[in-house]
């Protein structure tokens, strides 16, 4: 029974696809040409997007790779022990995994109330402030190197964890404000009013309706903020070095001073948290929460 349905299904699908492509294009030749072009584009995309990542990932497990062979000279796990036994690299991993969650949490505390305000209230210069928050990302951070350092020295924030957290929060403000603001704006006012009419307090309405319905947007914002913080290298280096190194700042010294394979191992380690988080939030990111957040309302 199962076998027969399996046989029928692809046929009907093929018939449906075929008839549609005839209807939609000028003729058979055009459809074939289109399919060939698409196939070429897919192959190109696979090579373009995944090629560099795979090429680098394989390097983490090879003894040596002689040009121009497409197959490495031998396989080894030696580089993994190199990374795990190096205390500096271990400390960098630890720093990153501690600092980034703190940054996301602080950023949420600072920005989420603002996101709600931007979505629900019309106040003086609201749009100017929204755009202004974005402008912070447009100014090259390295250009602030000198004056930011002066400010941090004056406030005694240089070489402190608090200083690193502040520098990284700056990079997350846009995500944490814009995306949740769009999510809050998408919650129908009528629902909130209905709950109020039914006797729920303002706080109860906020937590059980507004916040819950905006949760996917907040989740996407949190993931994007985590990545921005986890990825941040320039500001962290300025404030943290030589006391604190995170994984990206360590990566800069790594690629210059270690064999290629060690950098490859480190790259895999550095990608794990972001890949896991992004997979968790994939549905909402692809579903338009991210795109929605970047249209000023």
């Amino acid at each position: 029974m199962a076998a027969t349905t399996e046989q029928i299904a692809p046929e009907t699908a093929a018939v449906r696809l075929g008839s549609e492509s005839i209807r939609r294009s000028d003729g058979r030749a055009g459809a074939v040409l289109g399919k060939v072009l698409i196939a070429i584009f897919v192959v190109f995309m696979v090579l373009f997007i995944l090629g560099p990542l795979l090429w680098l990932a394989i390097h983490a497990f090879v003894t040596n790779w002689t040009f121009p062979n497409l197959w490495p000279d031998g396989w080894t796990m030696r580089w993994w022990t190199t990374v795990f036994s190096d205390p500096a690299l271990g400390a960098a991993v630890q720093n990153s995994l501690v600092i980034s969650p703190i940054v996301v949490l602080c950023s949420a505390l600072i920005c989420l109330p603002a996101a709600y305000a931007f979505a629900r209230y019309d106040f003086f210069a609201r749009r100017t402030f929204l755009v202004g928050l974005f402008a912070t990302n447009a100014f090259p951070k390295m250009g602030l190197f000198a004056t930011l350092a002066s400010l941090f020295y004056a406030l005694n924030l240089m070489n402190t964890v608090v200083g690193i957290v502040i520098v990284q929060i700056i990079g997350t403000v846009v995500f944490m404000t814009w995306i949740p603001a769009a999510a809050f704006a998408g919650v129908p006012r009528s629902l909130e009013e209905a709950a109020r009419d039914a006797g729920a307090s303002k706080i109860r309405v906020f937590f059980t309706i507004s916040l819950r319905m905006a949760l996917p947007g907040i989740l996407v914002a949190a993931v994007m903020s985590f990545l921005a913080s986890f990825d941040e290298a320039q500001g962290t280096y300025l404030v943290g070095a030589p006391q604190y190194f995170t994984m990206p700042t360590e990566m800069y010294t790594l690629v210059l001073n270690y064999p290629k394979q060690v950098a490859a191992v480190f790259s895999i380690l550095l990608s794990i948290p972001s890949v896991v988080l992004m997979l968790a939030a994939r549905k909402h990111i692809m579903g338009g929460q991210l795109a929605e957040g970047f249209q000023i309302r």
């Binding site: 560099p52 497409l70 090259p140 004056t147």
Partner: protein, 286 residues
């Protein structure tokens, strides 16, 4: 409620920007005094309106002008390529759909998962002298191109890292177009190209503008991608201004370059704001 992030940004970005602006026109007192003391080739203002000597330094420097040109070219080329790819994938997803379209959009979003430092490093090794591309060419006895440490590698890296956001933006804009409009155009005899050009693109104008401007703003001030994949000279200004600060110890000149990038980015940003407000007006939201 909206105040905390605004205050944070004002204190830790706005205030340093103002300090930097003052420093760049020769006001070297106060919080700027330490930088002015350590830095080389610092110009001091001897009047109340400041001095533009540092700007004159930078804009008469042939190396800077070359880097500025590279920055502009890389930004424009990357933005155009990213927009074309995003439009292609978005249109295919909207008009045909199916598993292949999903595979394509899924692939395009992969770079969002990967930290930029790693992406740059991966792209450099892939296109370098002993990388995959040259190995494949060597397999069939050809001398492949070495793109590592060239401007081409910067463009490849910029496109790679910018693609996900553009695809998400453009695809969501195209998905929002009602089926009825496309069906109507199709019944009236419009082909794929005609529908794409006269219905899809005008309807998704705002998301397309956002994708383009955000890509350009991201690329124009980028540091990591050109630092890893690009040549030593000429390179993009993000790298040059870092060199001026750390290697040459000329903070004032470095800040002048930062303002050059910022003004260019602000120009691109103004286009984005204009497009948004235009659409808000059309829909009667203003």
């Amino acid at each position: 409620m909206a105040l905390p992030p605004i205050l944070l940004v004002l204190l830790f970005v706005g205030f340093p920007v103002v300090l930097a602006l003052a420093f760049s026109i020769g006001f070297t007192g106060g919080l700027n005094s330490i930088v002015a003391m350590i830095g080389l080739n610092v110009h001091h203002a001897d009047n109340w309106w400041g001095t533009f000597a540092a700007y004159a330094d930078v804009f008469s420097n042939a190396q800077f002008l070359q880097d500025l040109l590279v920055t502009v070219v890389v930004t424009v080329v990357s933005a155009v390529v990213v927009l074309f790819m995003a439009m292609g994938i978005g249109l295919y997803l909207r008009m045909r759909g199916g598993w292949l379209a999903n595979v394509l959009s899924g692939l395009a979003v992969v770079p969002l998962f990967i930290p930029v430092v790693i992406a740059s490093w991966a792209i450099l090794t892939f296109y370098s002298g002993d990388g995959f591309v040259r190995s494949v060419f060597a397999l069939v006895g050809l001398q492949g191109p070495t793109w590592g440490y060239t401007v081409i590698a910067i463009v490849i890296g910029s496109v790679w890292t910018s693609l996900p956001f553009a695809v998400l933006m453009v695809a969501s804009g195209l998905q929002a177009i009602p089926d009825a409009m496309i069906e109507a155009a199709r019944d009236a005899g419009a082909g794929f190209v005609r529908i794409a050009y006269s219905i899809m693109m005008p309807m998704a104008f705002i998301p397309i503008v956002i994708a383009g401007t955000f890509t350009a703003i991201g690329v124009i001030g980028s540091f990591t991608v050109p630092y890893f994949t690009g040549p030593n000279a000429p390179t993009m200004l993000g790298v040059t201004l870092t060199n001026y600060f750390t290697t040459y110890n000329e903070p004032q000149q470095s800040i002048v370059m930062a303002f050059t990038i910022f003004i260019a980015a602000a120009g691109i940003g103004a286009f984005y704001v204009w497009a948004n407000f235009r659409s808000a007006k059309e829909q009667g939201r203003v």
